[in-house]
């Protein structure tokens, strides 16, 4: 049975093209992916991302428990701060990637991928044995609305929200348009913006209010299609494409999210720290195609006539007009920024150059 968010009827009425995504009937586009993409970069967009999972974790051992399941050091996470993490298995492979928010003393919110919530919960419950932890999956009770774009902050101010003192990667309880919610200065587009976690019954009212107040800033509803091109330009990983149980955070280029001095033990720590010390066999790189062809998920990558890896994500980049991709390649010295590799597209090799990520400068690290 395909699930619907509380905003499903809004999307249909807006004329969205609906698709099944991770078990949810979701809007992939309302008008055009390219147009929606540009709206976020140049103005502001509203996303329904209520399919994402929300799990509250509390209890005497909540901090110690989270510290056991992610590489980030949750002991060091301050009140109202958010941190990007992964959920490794015993081999360092990734079950999911997450954002953990500290809401209070031994009280956390975990936001995870819709496609992985069952696997995550299964893993989390297996890991809590003997610990005083309450796992409360509230995914079915909450909607998540994302306001993202260069005018996002203007819109939040217009709705009466005082953003002073709320930096990137923080979360605060707030009242917006009379609705109690949690306002997080995070997103998945490379733009500044907020994600608003609200009880389902208020989501339609909030959706309408945001569109109404956002009109003067050029707001549009944005589908999952543009969400994907926006995140890829910002080189943000997509679980299932760029991350899975065969990739570690180090291979995925996420070393920055793996503290080297964390004392607590966590799943996969040996493998992950061994890779930090001794290197990896494969690495994630950014590619720009040198002709008009588009690299897609699963295509093979060649270097000097030999297979050297595969594409994990690829699309046209509406902001740059180039065709961009992420790929895992052999960790060889010569396969470095500036090097030219080939992508096998419909049985022909097409040149692509390795470039630094992100493909488009991120504007979300504010404050």
């Amino acid at each position: 049975m395909v699930k619907q968010t509380y905003l499903h009827d809004k999307h249909v009425k807006l004329g969205a093209k609906m698709v099944d995504f991770a078990g949810w009937h979701m809007p992939v586009q309302y008008s055009s992916i390219i147009e929606e993409h540009k709206t976020v970069r140049e103005a502001v967009g509203l996303f329904d991302v209520s399919h994402m999972g929300e799990v509250f974790i509390s209890g005497k051992d909540a901090t110690a428990f989270l510290n056991k399941i992610v590489p980030q050091d949750i002991e060091k996470l301050d009140y109202e701060k958010a941190v990007y993490c992964q959920l490794p298995n015993a081999n360092g492979g990734l079950i999911d990637d997450l954002i953990i928010y500290k809401l209070g003393i031994e009280y956390y919110l975990v936001i995870c991928n819709a496609s992985r919530i069952d696997e995550d919960l299964n893993w989390i419950v297996r890991n809590k044995r003997g610990m005083n932890v309450k796992i409360d999956n509230q995914s079915h009770n909450y909607s998540l609305l994302a306001i993202q774009g260069s005018r996002a902050i203007d819109l939040m101010k217009k709705m009466g929200y005082d953003i002073e003192g709320q930096k990137s990667f923080t979360i605060k309880p707030a009242v917006i348009e009379g609705i109690k919610l949690l306002a997080s200065r995070t997103g998945y587009t490379g733009e500044d913006g907020f994600e608003l976690l609200v009880e389902n019954e208020y989501s339609e009212f909030l959706w309408d209010k945001i569109l109404e107040k956002g009109e003067e800033f050029g707001i549009k509803p944005i589908g999952l299609g543009a969400r994907d091109t926006l995140r890829l330009e910002a080189a943000l990983h997509l679980y299932g494409n760029d991350l899975d149980e065969t990739t570690t955070p180090i291979e995925a280029g996420l070393s920055w999210s793996v503290p080297k001095d964390k004392k607590a033990d966590y799943n996969g720590k040996d493998v992950i720290l061994n890779q930090v010390a001794n290197g990896v066999d494969k690495k994630l790189v950014g590619l720009v195609m040198l002709d008009r062809n588009i690299a897609r998920h699963g295509y093979d990558v060649y270097f000097k006539g030999e297979k050297a890896g595969h594409i994990t994500s690829g699309c046209v980049s509406p902001s740059t007009g180039k065709n961009i991709a992420l790929a895992y390649v052999k960790n060889l010295k010569e396969i470095c920024t500036g090097a030219v590799v080939q992508v096998m597209i419909r049985e022909k090799l097409h040149d692509a150059q390795i470039v630094k990520r992100p493909f488009v400068e991120k504007r979300n690290r504010v404050g």
Binding site: K17, V28, Q29, S32, I33, I34, G225, T229, R292, N293, I294, R296, C315, V316, P318, R346
Partner: protein, 127 residues
């Protein structure tokens, strides 16, 4: 008579139309373009290439996905709409008069077209 009154369509969303000069024009239907969304890439065959009915003769990509385009009948490529390769996005505006993909010579087209649908029947099938 409008363009769509004269075309025949496949279930895989190609159309074909016989020109006055005897060549056959092949393209993709408006429904196919609409389903694909923003068109960003088009690869067409070369003049002289020969294909059988059902062969992949061209490739089209939107922001989201890559798709094959199949020959509605057998034939030899006589002309390609090469301007479209540089501006594939124009297919989102017009996939008929200016948005045809190739013209072919075919001796077998008439009998091979017997299982194709008129545009109005094709539209009914989609409902």
């Amino acid at each position: 008579m409008s363009f769509t009154d004269e075309i025949l369509c496949t279930k895989s969303h190609e159309y074909i139309l016989k020109e006055a000069g005897g060549k056959y024009i092949i393209g993709l239907t408006d429904y196919a373009i609409e389903q694909l969304g923003d068109i960003v890439f088009l690869e067409l065959p070369e003049v002289g290439d020969e294909f059988s009915k059902g062969d992949t003769f061209a490739n089209i990509e939107s922001v989201k996905a890559a798709s094959d385009i199949y020959m509605p009948v057998s034939g030899k490529i006589a002309e390609v709409n090469s301007a479209l390769v540089d501006t594939p996005e124009s297919l989102n505006e017009d996939c008929f008069e200016n948005g045809w993909l190739v013209k072919i010579d075919s001796n077998t087209a008439e009998e091979e077209m017997s299982d194709l649908l008129s545009y109005s029947d094709y539209k009914k099938e989609l409902e």
